[in-house]
Amino acid sequence: MIGQPGPHAGKSLLYVPGDSFIHRLNPLTKLVGLLWLAATTFMLPPEGMAAIFVAALAFGVIAGAGRAFVRRLLFTLLPFAIALFVIHGLLIERADTIDYGLFSLSADGLGYMGRILVRVAALLTVSMLFVTTTHPAILLKALDSHGVPPGIAYLISSPLLLLEPFSTRARAIRDAQQARGLDLNGSWRARAKAFPALLIPLVTLALSDLDHRASVLDGRAFRARPFRVVLDAPEDRPYERWLRRTLLVALPLQIGLAAWL
C-alpha cells in the first residue's frame, strides 16, 4: 500500500519527537486545551492573544521544537503579513489614510492588520504545539480508548496520519520521474510542463491508498465494536481528566459571557 515501512516508520511529518512534559500529556488533554485556547483567543484583546502566542511559542521551545516553530511561523506568517499589509495598510481607503505621494498609509488599517496577525499567530502556534508534540497514532489510540467512535477518531487523526505517507510518496514520485529524465530544474516552462507528471501519480496513488485503507479497516472490523479496550492506551492522569472537564465546562460559559458582555 504505502510501500514498505521505510527508515521513517514511526516518524510523522509534523511530529517532533521528544520527551517534554507536553509530549507526555494525554493527547485528549492537549486536544481539549487546543480547543479552549482557540476559542478563547477570539474573546481576548490583542494583548491577550499576544500573550497566548508568546506562551505557546515558549512551550514549543521547551518541547524542543523551537526551530520547527520559528521556521513554520516564518513560512506561513510572513507572506500572510505582507498580504495583510498591502490590503489593510495600503489599499483600503480609510478615514485616517495619509497620502505620502507614492503610496497612502492608514494607521487604522495597520492596527487592524496587527490584530488579525496576532490572532492568526496565536492560533497557529497553539495548533503547532499540538501537532508537534502529539504523534497521530497515539492520538488515535487515546481517542479510541476513550470510546470515541472509531470513525470519528479516524476522521480526526487521519489527516495527520496521512501526511507522512503522502509526503514520502510525493518524494518517491519526484525521484522516480527525475531519474527517468523529467526536467524539474529547467526553465519556468519546462517545470510547468513537468507538473502533471508529478501531480497525476500523486492523486491517483493517494486515491488508491484511501481505497485500500478503507478496505483494510473494514477487514479489521473497524466499525464492528464501538467499545474496545486499547491495551497500550496513552497514560491518562486524574488531574488531566479534571483539567479537561474544567476546560470543557469553561468553554460554553466563556462564549456565553462574551456574548452577554
Binding site: 518517491a172 514520485i173 525521484d175 527525475q178 527517468r180 529524465g181 524539474l184 530544474n185 529547467g186 507528471a197
Partner: protein
Amino acid sequence: MLKVEGVGFHYVAGTEVLRDLSFSASAGDIVALVGRNGAGKSTLLRLLNGLLKPTRGTVTIDGNVTAETPVHLISRSIGTVFQSPEQQIFNATVRDEVMFGPRNLPITAEERETRVREALERTRLTDQSAVHPLDLDQAKRRFVALASVLATRPPALLLDEPQRGLDARGRLLLERIVLEEQAKGCCVVIVCHDMEFVARLATRVIALSDGEISADRPPAEFFLDAKLTAGASVEAPDILRVSQQLGLPPCLTPAAFAEAWVARSSEPANRT
C-alpha cells in the same frame, strides 16, 4: 563510466551513512553491491544517479559531476530501477509507462516507438502493453519498471534488489537481460542478496559495511575470504562449501563444479 571519489554522505548532520568511498566502474562491468540492511546500498545508488548529492567528495557519471549536473540530464547516462517498483510506476498502461523515459529524450517519435517495442519484447511484456501496470503481479511490475528504464538505453544501469518478488523464471529472465546489457557495453550496478547470482554474473563485488567499502574484489576472491563475507554479513554460495568439502578446487557455480568434478574423475591418480 562512473567514478566515486572520497564520497561521504549523511541525511542528518552527525550520522554519516557513507564515509570516504572511492571506486570506479566501466563499460561491461557487473558490480554487485552487497551489505546488510541499512548499510547504505540504496543511498549509494541515489548518489550515483544524482538524486542525492554527496556531502563530501565527488561522483562523476559519464564525465559529468553529479553535484553540478541536473538530475534529468544525468538520467541520460544512468538508469535506475528502484527498490520498490510500486514507487516508480504511475501511468495508466504498461506502454505509457515504458514510453515515459523516451519521451524525455531528444529523439524522433519513430526512434521512441522502436525503443519501447524492443524494451517490451525483452521483458516479455508485449502482450500486456495495454494493461494497467498495477493490475499486474509484483514480478511483472518489476519488469515494467525495468522496461521503462531499458527503453532509454542508458549506458549505465542501477538495479536495487531486482530479484525480490521474482520466481525462478523471472530471475532467469532478469539474468539474461543483465548479461545482454553487459554485452552491449553497459555498466551494471546491482544491489543483490542472492549470492548464487553474484557468483554467476558479477565481475566485481563491492561490500559496504559501517559506511565504508570493506571489500572490492572479483567474486572468486571475495567469497573465498571468510573475513570479507562475514564483514558484509553474506554467505558464500553453497556450492563453494560443497566443492571444498569434496577436496575440489573452489567452485563458485554449478557449472564450475561440474567441470572440476569431471576433471578429477578423469584423473586416475586422484581417485579415491
